[in-house]
């Protein structure tokens, strides 16, 4: 009842004339820069917004997302922890079959088929995959995420991340480095040799090392890395350094004879932490799943053909649109014509309030994704418009230690027309090429509007 106690400060949304009339009276105002919602969403929006469950459901879902406490607890072989029997491979993004799979996805599947010895040469691998001889399932359905093609086969070693708050588990493979690597669709001999070395040496050594260190608090590590200039998607240099510092003594203790090659490998790959960070994102967003009535996005993922989202209140359903081609900088002589459409589960970083959403924390890489520092700050600031919360621990020094924008709300995407800002690597479109660049990509609006329509249908 304080409304009448003095001249009010007025938020105005709508006709500029009414805002001007207040200005003419010297009344303090905050004008909203309102635009109509995404075309065709008005009815669904009205129904979803009127859902009496929505506010409490979103509060609960986003609280679970931001209170998750991911810890790196083990490194284990996929065959031990994931259900990959009967020749099953996991892949990034929403479901896709060989027929619709893009070049890099096919390349990675061929590589994994060769790695597992399901075929002896490329032609054999192709015909096995074409005939459906390997089951393909999305990582996301197996508590797993995979960068780029995200192909997981039984002999790959996985980071195991546990949410100390809610008890969930999530997995992500180990990062192979940059350039010609399986996740970018390369499957030449050097790629397979590296994967075999990772199976034989890297995996077991890291596994033994983490047994010695005990659980590593990834939430604390990510929070520190943000303050050291990482956004945890396209820049993981600080986080990798911090992880290496934690691991190094244990690696030496666990496997003196391999310590140098393992530490050299980790040290040589600025993105080594990315996969652990992705598992941390996955375990946090999984904690927010399955809250009836919630319009919170719990997964954004691409398979190189489709961009898909999953929403807390809608279970495991995927809502997709065509994956876009990223806009960015290219390596060497590669150019946009060489680029594959957007691919990978690494958008779990944006889904959990990092990556593109934390661009303001990473001024060092703004040129890499084609912009100025002010663009990075603007990108992060704009994401507060479509998110439900500010992360209590992931903070951005340059924004006065404001928490990163976290918890994408489908209704806010539809209302503002603002799509999530996604940082990404760019894979070559021809199978076997590998990475050709990195940049920014816009998700397709229809993935979000379809999810909104399904939410509207779910309202009684």
């Amino acid at each position: 009842m304080t409304l009448l106690s003095g001249p009010p400060h007025v938020i105005t949304v709508g006709a500029g004339l009414l805002q001007e009339a207040l200005e003419a009276q010297a009344v303090a105002t905050t004008p909203v820069e309102w635009r109509p919602p995404l075309p065709g969403t008005a009815d669904a929006l009205a129904r979803v917004l009127a859902d009496p469950r929505r506010m409490a459901a979103n509060e609960r879902a986003v609280a679970r997302l931001t209170s998750a406490r991911p810890h790196l607890v083990a490194v284990r072989r996929a065959s031990e922890v994931l259900d990959l029997g009967g020749r099953t491979f996991l892949h990034a993004g929403p479901p896709v079959d060989w027929e619709r799979a893009s070049g890099p996805m096919r390349g990675a599947l061929i590589g994994a088929t060769l790695l597992e010895g399901y075929a002896h040469d490329e032609d054999g691998a192709r015909s096995l995959l074409e005939s459906g001889g390997v089951r393909l399932e999305p990582c996301h359905g197996h508590r797993t995420v995979g960068p780029m093609a995200g192909v997981v086969s039984p002999s790959m070693w996985m980071f195991e991340v546990r949410d100390a708050e809610h008890g969930g588990l999530a997995y992500c493979s180990l990062n192979e480095g940059l350039g010609k690597v399986l996740r970018y669709g390369a499957y030449g001999p050097e790629v397979l040799d590296r994967l075999r070395w990772m199976d034989r040496v890297l995996g077991p050594v890291l596994s033994a090392a983490i047994e010695l260190t005990g659980p590593i608090d990834l939430r604390a590590l990510i929070a520190q890395a943000l303050q050291m200039g990482d956004e945890l998607h396209n820049r993981n240099r600080a986080a990798t350094s911090l992880l290496l510092r934690e691991l190094a003594p244990a690696v030496v203790d666990a496997a003196r004879e391999h310590a140098a090659e393992v530490l050299r490998f980790v040290n040589g790959n600025d993105h080594f932490f990315l996969n652990a960070g992705m598992a941390a994102g996955k375990v946090s967003t999984d904690a927010a799943r399955d809250v009836p009535g919630s319009s919170l996005v719990v997964a954004m993922a691409r398979n190189g053909t489709d961009f898909g989202v999953q929403v807390s209140g809608l279970g495991d359903r995927w809502f997709t649109g065509p994956a876009g081609v990223p806009d960015g900088l290219y390596l060497g002589a590669y150019g946009p014509a060489d680029a594959n459409p957007d691919i990978g589960d690494s958008t779990i970083t944006e889904t959990s309030g990092l990556g593109g959403f934390a661009m303001a924390a990473a001024p060092a890489i703004v040129r890499f994704v084609g912009g100025e520092v002010s663009d990075a700050i603007a990108a992060t600031r704009s994401m507060y418009e479509i998110t439900l919360a500010e992360h209590p621990v992931y903070q951005i020094p340059g924004l006065g230690f404001r928490g990163t924008p976290v918890g994408i709300d489908v209704t806010l995407v539809a209302r503002t027309g603002l799509l999530p800002v996604v940082n990404t690597g760019i894979a070559g479109r021809v199978a076997g090429t590998g990475q050709v660049g990195a940049g920014l990509v816009n998700p397709p609006a229809e993935a979000f509007t379809r999810a909104l329509a399904a939410l509207a249908d779910s309202v009684q």
């Binding site: 409304l3 009010p8 400060h9 009205a46």
Partner: protein
């Protein structure tokens, strides 16, 4: 110039501007010497029909598209001006690169604020109003076209959050001297209003002001608040707020007659208040009489309400045509005159994708031009913030040329930016009889026939 008449018709997708801004663009194009007619408006059914009436051949377009239809000797110049105007509209709010303006009420409410004023198109107003209520902020929904189900939902939620929802379709509010929406410049004083009718409240407060009596606050509640469905939730809340307000010595409740069961509930609340309440319920008595009772209750004298009756010299043989912008003023006049045809151009049906007739005179200018000789046109001209900055200038020409006799109810105060006396003189000059009391104007029109 070739001298030939050309046309440009186009539909642009992905551009949105509010109806008032677009009306200004249309006006700027129309004022160009080479333009006969220019429509720049969102492609709602109403606006499409208007363009078709003007014999434009239109492509398919929907309410999310911008419709441009120009006819004239130099449509290229108009098209250039259009681009210039649209660019100016888009860049009218310069922002530093790093300064993210709020895109929703939810986002704006992160900063300190006391009240939210929502005037987006009706189908989108619920989202913004809901944001306000969830943020614990009182909200005035100026927009019309919000369904009664959503109004009820909003007001029930507002009960839980202990905030006031003014509207939907709430045209006016005055909070500690700040006018929201259509609001007259009023001197501060002891009278607080709870109003289910915007123009009704403007009539009462303007007359009070002319009588030298000021106003503490005007709290709108929306025209449906006292219906059985809504049950007077906002009316009751607003009454209690004014009762608790030390500046308010007397409360006026302005409304159409409430649904009977709601009337009972409101009466009980009124009887429980410490502050005396004067009811101005349409149909029981007119707003001028109610205002006079307020003055008497305060022990103040009732003045002669200013009027400038004229003699048009035109014979009156026909009927009274009410050409109104205010719904309550229209209803009041219809009750008093008792016959004729009355149209409220502020009704939802006339404002889809168009500015309110207090801002955009176009539809009423058309009605004036169409009036038959021998008729009496009875119209309101409402002054104050957000209304037409010079309505006399907008209407004088049409009144002077109108074949019918014109009677104007001029609702405004001496403090209004339009200047009440200058407006009255200009309307009088054009040939209209002018009254500051709508009831008196209506009686004058009735007596003429």
């Amino acid at each position: 110039m070739s001298g030939g008449v050309g046309e440009v018709v186009m539909v642009r997708s992905g551009i949105y501007h509010d109806s008032v801004a677009l009306m200004r663009v249309s006006r700027a194009l129309t004022e160009l010497p080479g333009t006969e007619v220019a429509i720049v408006a969102m492609a709602t059914e109403l606006n499409l029909a208007l363009a078709r009436d003007l014999r434009f051949d239109l492509p398919a377009a929907g309410p999310a598209d911008l419709l441009v239809a120009i006819r004239g000797h130099d449509v290229e110049a108009a098209a250039r001006e259009l681009d210039r105007q649209l660019v100016a509209l888009s860049s009218s709010r310069p922002q530093a690169a790093a300064d993210q303006p709020p895109l929703t009420t939810r986002s704006a409410a992160r900063r300190p604020a006391d009240v939210v004023l929502v005037s987006v198109p009706g189908e989108h107003a619920f989202a913004e109003a809901l944001d306000a209520v969830h943020a614990g902020l009182p909200v005035m929904v100026f927009s019309d076209g919000v369904s009664v189900e959503r109004e009820v939902l909003l007001k029930r939620l507002a009960e839980e959050r202990d905030v006031l929802v003014m509207g939907p379709d709430c045209g006016t509010a005055v909070i500690a001297g700040a006018g929201l929406g259509f609001a007259n410049v009023l001197r501060p004083g002891p009278v607080g209003l709870v109003a289910a009718s915007g123009t009704g409240a403007q009539q009462v407060t303007s007359l009070l002001d002319l009588a030298g009596t000021g106003v503490s606050h005007v709290l709108g509640v929306g025209g449906r608040d006292l219906s059985a469905e809504v049950g007077g939730l906002s009316t009751v809340r607003a009454l209690r707020m004014l009762d608790d307000d030390p500046a308010t010595e007397l409360i006026v409740l302005v409304s159409k007659p409430p649904a009977p069961e709601v009337a009972r509930a409101v009466r009980e609340v009124v009887e429980s208040l410490r502050t005396p309440v004067v009811s101005a319920l349409l149909g029981e008595r007119d707003l001028t009489e109610a205002t006079e009772e307020v003055l008497r209750a305060l022990g103040r004298s009732v003045p002669e309400w200013p009027a400038w009756p004229g003699w048009s010299g035109k014979a009156v043989t026909g009927t009274v045509r009410g050409v109104y912008s205010g719904g309550t003023l229209c209803a009041e006049a219809r009750l008093i005159v008792g016959r004729g045809e009355f149209v409220d151009y502020g009704d939802d049906a006339y404002t889809l994708g168009r500015a309110h007739p207090m801002i955009d005179p176009a539809l009423r200018l058309e009605a004036l031009a169409k009036a038959a000789p021998g008729d009496v046109v009875l119209m309101d001209v409402v002054l104050g913030h957000a209304a037409d900055p010079d309505p006399a200038a907008s209407f004088a020409h049409a009144i002077a040329r109108c074949p019918a006799t014109v009677v104007v109810a001029l609702v405004g105060t001496e403090g209004d930016p339009q200047d009440l006396h200058r407006q009255a003189a200009a309307l009088r000059e054009a040939g209209a009889s002018v009254f500051t009391s709508n009831a008196h104007a209506a009686r004058h029109a009735r007596d003429l026939t």
